[in-house]
Symmetry: C2
Subunit: 169 residues, 2 copies
Amino acid sequence: MTPQDAIRLFTKTLENLEKWMDKATEHAKARSFEVDVLAKARLAPDQHDFVHQVQLACDQAKYAAAYLGGKPAPSHPDTEQTFAELRERIRKCTGFLATLQEKDFAGAEERKVAPSWLGGRWLRGDDYLVHVAVPNFFFHVTTAYAILRHNGVALGKMDYIGSLPTHEG
Amino acid sequence: MTPQDAIRLFTKTLENLEKWMDKATEHAKARSFEVDVLAKARLAPDQHDFVHQVQLACDQAKYAAAYLGGKPAPSHPDTEQTFAELRERIRKCTGFLATLQEKDFAGAEERKVAPSWLGGRWLRGDDYLVHVAVPNFFFHVTTAYAILRHNGVALGKMDYIGSLPTHEG
């Protein structure tokens, strides 16, 4: 999985996430409740709510693209409160991912990645992708999925995975 | 992320999962309940329980290693019911992953991967890793984590991520 593969996978998965939100919206409508109730839902009182899981998934994708592509990460303040606002956040994120070019990733594996939470230490670009960006991205999208699932939205594994580049014969 | 990187990441994460189970065991002891109650816990009535999430995570890692390494996948029947049995399952899985050699992965990206659930279609090895193995593996470990978290086990993000190969200076 090259950095470009990872960025494409993040984009596809964020697009899948928007479809889970469509299903959540239909579910809310069918049950006559306001879908934004789910925006505040969480699985444990001291775990982040749906809004923040989506924000964090977007940030994992954004920072991976920025660090590995050698571009500054655009600022996306965590101001969203509603499904409509989260859709905009997702699109700002995938819009940024789409700006990265093949050539931006040249030498990505050896870039020094030093996010502030590492307290002055750093990771190689390839290690950042393997040990931080990929596991964390899927942590947050899966937790977002689980929050919807726990609240009765009828999601299944193929909603999670989305389209597959299969071949015949 | 090479197939070998992915296999190492799966191994590390399954070892992290055993540590979450240690914390769950301590939590159960402190609260005077039988930890195997959590083995049957689930986030939605029609979603798999903790036992099956762990079995599925192991299987995603096992099949990725087998398909990409060109080795037959050993049979690991889904008979586990307890935390102790799940630990054995995890170790059978990581034991198999450890048998794969660098040379087994030569040409892995172009192998035809045709699991029966694709109904006769197939994926390239690299696509299988990106689109199936990695997202599904993290889906099941994150759901297992979420089940424990939802039931009060005090897990945090660094329990999820585990050790990082950071550098100084």
